[in-house]
């Protein structure tokens, strides 16, 4: 037995070398056309459309995209910081909470584009700006009668045991609802206690809420408007209900990295994302553009929206989640 050592070692060394040879190298950046690295958690088709538009506007531009879920993106950034520094030029996120944490760690540069007009003050912070709106709305099973009209209807005995909620720990968009209700007068965390008492169940992700309602596991759910629209477009038996007291809105922020190796290209990209062309591409992939002049997906007439006070939520995420889990956890 002791004799297998050397031969097997040799074999392993050869194989390891073969493995190295097969791997791809890091592409070299070109000097003239803008080249940058984008870290993002925005859905793939939207990123693809915007990056294609940027390349069209800046011929020869090259954008290396690292797209991952918010959690994986956070892990990547945490790992980067501990192995030679953040490798991104631009970060384009889904919700303002993670972005604010990056700003607090001095990872971001103060907003680099001076003249982007029209972005609502509510979607501007010192280090990052919104690029699109996401709306949390109600999804109902088709034919549900009576259909709920407002958020507070969810605690009505008529919907006992049929309400599905996304896990606020799973994504920032789901957390926005928890953040809003925790602050809103008449709701608070008591609202979640009443939901739990009314038999509401938690599913994991925002899209899964739509699936649960479409398949009949639940009859009403809290989810993103774009998810409902894409399900109905394919023929799923669900309806979108825009709550009378307002959809809960959150904005998807973009920021330039403080230590961006390609600072000029990064600024150009941020600027492009707030251009009419990019905003139209964002609208075409199912989202409400942040610029008011660009038409987004249809909304019912008189639709209103409300949003959490993000500044008050920054840094309170884990505490709120623990309070929520004391209600919905096992």
């Amino acid at each position: 037995m002791r004799n297998i050592g050397p031969a097997a070692v040799l074999a392993a060394a050869v194989l390891l070398a073969a493995g190295c040879a097969g791997s791809s190298g890091t592409p070299a950046a070109t000097a003239s056309a803008p080249a940058l690295t984008l870290y993002t958690s925005v859905t793939q088709n939207t990123v693809d459309a915007v990056v294609a538009g940027f390349a069209a506007a800046h011929p020869g531009a090259k954008v290396d995209v690292f797209r991952a879920t918010t959690g994986s993106l956070n892990a990547r950034i945490a790992a980067d910081q501990r192995s030679g520094g953040l490798k991104a030029d631009v970060i384009w996120g889904t919700d303002p909470l993670s972005m604010q944490s990056y700003a607090d760690q001095h990872l971001l540069r103060a907003w680099p584009v001076p003249n982007a007009s029209g972005v609502a003050a509510a979607a501007q912070a010192r280090y990052f700006w919104g690029t699109r709106w996401l709306y949390l709305v109600l999804v109902t099973a088709r034919g549900l009668n009576p259909a709920p009209r407002s958020w507070s209807d969810l605690t009505d005995p008529a919907y006992r045991g049929v309400v599905a909620l996304p896990d606020p720990a799973a994504a920032g968009s789901a957390f926005a609802a928890l953040g809003y209700f925790s602050q809103a007068p008449g709701f608070g965390l008591d609202f979640y206690k009443r939901l739990k008492a009314n038999g509401a169940t938690q599913v994991s992700t925002v899209p899964e809420v739509v699936t649960a309602v479409a398949q009949g596991r639940a009859k009403v759910g809290l989810t993103l408007d774009s998810e409902v629209r894409s399900a109905t477009a394919k023929g799923s038996p669900v309806n979108l209900v825009w709550p009378a007291d307002g959809a809960i809105s959150l904005y998807s922020p973009i920021a330039q990295v403080a230590t961006a190796p390609h600072a000029a290209a990064a600024t150009a990209f941020c600027e492009y994302v707030l251009s009419a062309d990019a905003q139209r591409r964002i609208a075409q992939t199912g989202w409400q553009p942040i610029l008011p002049g660009i038409p987004g997906p249809p909304q019912p007439s008189g639709a209103t929206s409300v949003s959490p006070d993000w500044t008050a939520l920054f840094g309170r995420q884990r505490q709120l989640l623990q309070q929520y889990q004391a209600i919905f956890g096992a």
Partner: protein
């Protein structure tokens, strides 16, 4: 000691150094990166992270799950191994892939399939009005993880059986009038101690580490495990405190596995070996019964769930009845839009590299058995398997990011670190049943080390090495978490595509990709497993 022992000693010492170096590079370096992060909050920070009520709850849940699944899956896998491996070769060839099917299907596909087959509004609910009670919650998690773990235990025990010595003893016992059970209890089980322990260690570590099933079935019930807690903290980990806490929980998972596995490994090191007898196994009498049981098990635990996924992949939109009028291939077309083809090829390439290197690494480490240095090295390898993928990926990125960030090679490093144990355990279990005498005989008769390896050592280890290669291929091909954190431009794996689709929330496309993720492996298994049976 015989003549062969003398020239073997010096290269042996070199081998120890080399393996220790490999363990250092692949396992210790990433884990050290994590320890550095975890220690960032100081002792008080570690204590606070561990004593938090949600950490305590998740730890209790994880230990209970791992204990119950191990208690169910290891006897189940061993029973299947004894039942199937004693069949005549033709029947065995058919049954092997059927048993392995639970492992061939990726964990998250299996979990998703169970919800579609047995959950509320699932297949059985729609057809017969019977959903499986408790599917969302600990009972469901145990069932699905056990389905995944039974074939894992089966493969490890089979690897041990392939060079097992019980045939003559078993026959002798039966001829002397021992009943079937007495023979099992007094002859077979004691001989299987090592494979059973190896299987238990692997299943226990697998359950501690498993994420997709607890996330899918536990979250709706508010049932958290350590791995789902790490995932949740990861979502908040833009906040440095949350990131430190998650590494603490990840390292606690390592400790948990250390406590469970290290005693077994130390005890394994003390077990005596027995001379081999490579006779073909005896056909057992109850062939039909075994066949029926295997098919029933596989149909219920894997067949129906996979059918449910296939139906979801074919159906236009969720909530529509899965009848031909609503069928479409559009989900597959969507699934293959963009990068999917290239990513699929890259995943296959990475999995093939893992399938080559993991058995080699496993064989190397197993070759150290009996040496004092072998045991801590083996424990280290088990530990890196226990770290949740997300945390190990961060460790690998910290260790190698400076040089390898964004390349496919960094993903391969993570795969090797994580899956080394899959090569080690089957080979270890098989080696233990292999005696040193034929090796000595070959060396005394003048065979060189290479000839001895090729003609004496490797042939009886073929099943074990093939098991190791198959496991490494499967786990690498299905790996979602680490590659989604480590990939870079031009090194997307299929996992990245699957996760992107899952985020888009399209259940049809996700199901189609789940089918794509499952089918190539099924085909490979259908071709390879029966061929293996001929040896």
């Amino acid at each position: 000691m015989t003549a062969s022992a003398v020239p073997a000693r010096r290269p042996g010492a070199a081998a120890v150094v080399l393996i220790a170096a490999l363990v250092g590079l692949l396992v210790v370096l990433p884990l050290a990166g994590l320890v550095r992060v975890a220690a960032g909050g100081g002792l008080a920070g570690i204590a606070r992270a561990l004593a938090a009520p949600q950490s305590v709850r998740a730890t209790v849940h994880t230990i209970a799950l791992a204990a119950v699944v191990t208690a169910l899956a290891v006897p189940g896998g061993a029973a299947l191994a004894l039942g199937v491996e004693r069949q005549e070769p033709r029947r065995r060839r058919v049954l092997r892939p059927v048993v392995a099917s639970g492992l061939i299907v990726p964990e998250f596909v299996l979990g998703f399939g169970w919800t579609q087959a047995y959950g509320p509004a699932g297949l059985t609910d729609r057809l017969a009005g019977i959903p499986l009670p408790g599917l969302y919650g600990p009972a469901g998690i145990v069932l699905v993880l056990a389905t995944h773990a039974v074939p894992l235990a089966y493969l490890v025990v089979t690897a041990g059986l392939a060079v097992r010595a019980d045939v003559d003893l078993h026959r002798a016992a039966r001829a002397s009038g021992a009943g079937r059970w007495a023979a099992l209890r007094t002859i077979t089980l004691p001989l299987l101690r090592v494979p059973l322990l190896a299987a238990s260690a692997l299943v226990f570590a697998s359950v501690v580490n498993s994420f997709a099933v607890p996330q899918l079935l536990g979250t709706p019930a508010g049932f958290a495990t350590m791995s789902t807690l790490v995932y949740q903290d990861l979502n908040l980990s833009a906040d440095p405190a949350a990131f430190t806490d998650l590494t603490v929980v990840a390292l606690a998972m390592v400790l948990l596995v250390l406590v469970a596995v290290a005693p077994a490994e130390v005890w394994l090191g003390a077990v005596r070996t027995r001379p081999p007898n490579l006779d073909p196994p005896v056909p057992a009498g109850s062939g039909r019964l075994v066949t029926a049981a295997v098919w029933a098990f596989a149909t219920l635990t894997v067949g129906l769930p996979v059918l449910a996924v296939l139906l979801a992949a074919l159906t236009r939109a969720p909530g529509l009845a899965s009848v031909p009028a609503n069928w479409t291939l559009a989900n597959f077309a969507d699934a293959f839009a963009g990068e999917t083809g290239a990513a699929l090829a890259r995943s296959l390439w990475l999995a093939a590299a893992a399938a080559l290197l993991v058995p080699a690494l496993g064989g190397l480490l197993a070759g150290l058995r009996g040496r004092l240095a072998g045991r801590p090295l083996a424990v280290a390898v088990t530990l890196s398997y226990a770290v949740p993928g997300s945390a190990l990926a961060v460790g690998v990125a910290i260790g190698y990011g400076r040089w390898l960030a964004g390349t496919a090679l960094i993903i391969l490093v993570a795969y090797l670190a994580k899956f080394w144990i899959l090569g080690y355990l089957p080979v270890r279990a098989a080696l233990d049943r292999l005696s040193a005498e034929p090796v000595r005989a070959a060396r005394v008769s003048g065979a060189g080390p290479a000839t001895t390896l090729a003609t004496v050592v490797l042939p009886p280890l073929r099943t074990a090495l093939a098991s190791a290669a198959a496991l490494a291929f499967l786990f690498a091909f299905h790996e979602l978490t680490m590659s989604s954190i480590l990939y870079g431009p031009g090194s997307q794996t299929l996992a990245v595509v699957v996760l992107n689709q899952r985020e888009l929330g399209n259940i049809g496309t996700t199901s189609a990709l789940a089918v794509v993720l499952t089918v190539p492996v099924c085909l490979a298994a259908a071709v390879l497993l029966p061929r293996r049976g001929r040896t």
